[in-house]
């Protein structure tokens, strides 16, 4: 079974690569995830940021998780399953708004693995800010749902995943939305401290926490920026490097979306924020429409 979105443009030899991939992989690999990227990356600043993020996520981060033996949260499209195992695991959770990411974790809990293959599917990058925020808010809400669902029984999860994968799950599925949510709080505190030298901020933190926070601020920011830059370089998107360097502005958008998704978790937890597609027209392509495309999540 393979899932493609309506607007997807997979590499022409992707299915062949998948067949070879399944033959070469061990029996524990029951899903192959292709790398996702965008065909309209140069449309505007937002699509450049989105593409640099996807290049980092699918070309560096997910292969890294795969190589380290950690669970891979699947993207919503171009995941190829061995049908029997998909049925055994109960397929997708219809209540989870990032059912793909959740499925990747559930496969791992069963002792199976999802691996990343070196084949790309191009999609349409969301090019309008509000449309992007809605899509991202759903992804964040879905990641939080996934984290909460699996953490209903933390000890069971620990036993099922093992300590390394448990840590990875917590950092990736739990930590990603958490980072988006707390970012504006810490940015505000930092800005307040710089602008007003508000002494109470320093008094909030014991010295070791303050110094670790400072190290995290200084090293963490550049590390994430450089990861995005590395993703661009790996894809050969050299002109996109300048956008990747100012990706902290993009992170601000992520935080807006994260808070929208987080609050919606309480008010309308299973609501599916539709993503409008067809905002970019490739030559020779028919027009798409609302909800016609990506249900995927690639935080």
């Amino acid at each position: 079974v393979v899932i493609y979105d309506a607007e997807d443009v997979p590499d022409p030899d992707q299915l062949k690569k998948v067949v070879v991939g399944f033959r070469k992989a061990g029996p524990e690999v029951v899903c192959l995830q292709a790398k996702l990227n965008y065909y309209n990356s140069g449309q505007n600043v937002l699509t450049n940021w989105f593409t640099s993020e996807y290049s980092m996520w699918f070309d560096l981060f997910l292969p890294g998780l795969d190589a380290s033996g950690a669970p891979v949260p699947l993207g919503g499209t171009s995941n190829h399953f061995a049908a029997q195992h998909l049925r055994e695991v109960g397929a997708w959770d219809p209540y989870n708004v990032t059912e793909d990411a959740d499925l990747g974790i559930r496969l791992f809990r069963r002792g199976w693995r999802a691996a990343v293959i070196d084949s790309t599917t191009l999609e349409e990058a969301n090019s309008q800010v509000y449309n992007w925020i809605r899509q991202r808010s759903r992804w964040v809400k879905g990641y939080i749902q996934t984290y909460l669902v699996h953490m209903r029984h933390p000890l069971q999860l620990w036993r099922a995943l093992g300590p390394k994968a448990f840590f990875s799950f917590t950092m990736v599925v739990g930590g990603t939305p958490f980072g988006f949510l707390v970012n504006p709080i810490f940015w505000s505190l930092t800005a307040l401290w710089f602008l007003a030298h508000a002494g109470f901020i320093r008094s909030l933190y014991p010295a070791p926490v303050f110094y670790l926070g400072m190290a995290s601020l200084l090293v963490g920011n550049i590390a994430f920026i450089l990861l995005n830059v590395a993703g661009c370089l790996r894809r050969g998107y050299y002109g996109m490097v300048k956008y990747a360097l100012v990706s902290p502005l993009y992170w601000a958008l992520m935080s807006v979306a994260a808070w929208k998704g987080f609050l919606q978790l309480f008010t309308n937890p299973f609501y599916w924020e539709k993503t409008v597609h067809g905002l970019y027209h490739r030559p020779g392509m028919t027009q798409g429409g609302e909800g016609g495309g990506s249900g995927g999540s690639g935080l």
């Binding site: 550049i222 790996r234 050299y238 490097v241």
Partner: protein, 530 residues
Amino acid sequence: VNPLRRHAARLCLGLIALLYVAAAWALTYGARSIQGDNFSRIANAFYVLYSRDPHLAAVGFVWNPLPSLLDLPLLVVLRPFGLALLAGPLQSALWSVANVALMARILRQIGVAGWPRPALVAVYALNPFVALYAANGMTEAAFMTAIFLLTSALFSWHATESPGALLMAGLACALAMGIRYEVFALVLIGAMAIALIWWERHWGDWPRLEGQLLAFLAPFLYVLLVWGLANWMFMGSPTFFLDGPSSNAAQTEQFRHPGSELWPLYRHLGPAISFALARCLLFMPGLIPLLVLAAGTLALRRRPTAAVVLFAPAAVLLFHVYYLYAGQSFGWLRYYCYSVPLGLWAAALVVAHGPPPSGTRSRRRALAHRWITIPLVMATVALSVPTTLVGLVGPAWGRAEHGVLDDLVERATAAGAATRWSDEQAMAAYIDGLRLPRGSVALDTQDGFAIPMYSHAPAQFIVSSDHDYVGIVAALPLFHGYVLVPRSSLVVSPILSLYPGLRSNTARWARLQRRTGRWLLYRIAPSADG
């Protein structure tokens, strides 16, 4: 890789680590030879943790901050054992071990195989300068690490153009920015190397050049931005580290005046080059023939851009020539130590690239390369060990280094003999004996950095990094407590600049309490007519 060889390499690295750490301990606590700059950097970290007003900005804005920042965790571990002064030397020892491993990696990248590789590594690891600066806590070892990382990354970029290599080159420059200001030479040469490789392979693809240069420069620019921001916030100027009163430019002001030692080099390129070259040749006597041979080898093999392996150390040496010319250099011998890796990598290029395999006389040439060229090149680089030793012990060359030999001899002959810091130690002991409350003694730590470190109660000192220091010094005659000032008229002391009467003991509001060889301790008596 042969597992046996790998184990042997690890064992050798472990032994070298042991040697460097033992040397660091022996120099600091055996010979009690503590280099001033090293001491000052440890002291900056000390104030962050243990001063009366502990805060991160106490790390100071004179030195690049990374060595002191890395001293922070080392101090936390070492101070309870009474080994606080080992923080800097231990750090330089660890950087130096990394350098030995990186040297082996770069030689492998260049293609040196067989016995010349461990031999070249040994020539580096056992070079007396490398061993001394592994043990003395100075930043040359750390900066050498940045140079080695940049060189390895650039060479890897030259071979593969992998994004990881490009980003590693940028991170090496960011690391260098945290350590020494010669980083500007590294950044410039790194950008030139990337442009050169692009010009050779991708001419006309401008977005590629833009993206690659931005990716390379980003980490360095980020660190520069953060450092400039910190300087602006705490010192009032983003370029304080470059042009402030304690900057290199300010401290070398004396050399830009007639009569000074380095005056003949100021604005005279020939003498500046000659001065630098003499020191480079002391470190690596065969440097020029090795560079010529390497250039010839690469030209014959039509691999001119492989010369990127020589760029980084060469750039730093040129930077120091420029600094001599601009009158901003102290002319220390250590500034020219980069000729050691430069010479070794030039030798490696010659050793690794034998004659071209084609041609009727290729076998004879290969034999000549193996039995004549390689032994000659290896003998030439091995000469660097004794000549470096001569440079270090001779006061005419190693103005800063030969004192270490004196320390070693003095401690060996008379264990209780005075050290360079005996005066500070004695003053700290005296002040401790007064059992003063917190914040009793105002002290300018630009020169007096050692005194709080030797004290058992560092919080009794008001040091330059304390938030209220400027206010207290501005109203010093009204302060209830003590003030410590240097005796020497050569020392530029901000306190003495404000209150010159303290040096001549003519300030009526202060009564001399204690005099040592280098320090004057005054008790301030506001009731007097100050």
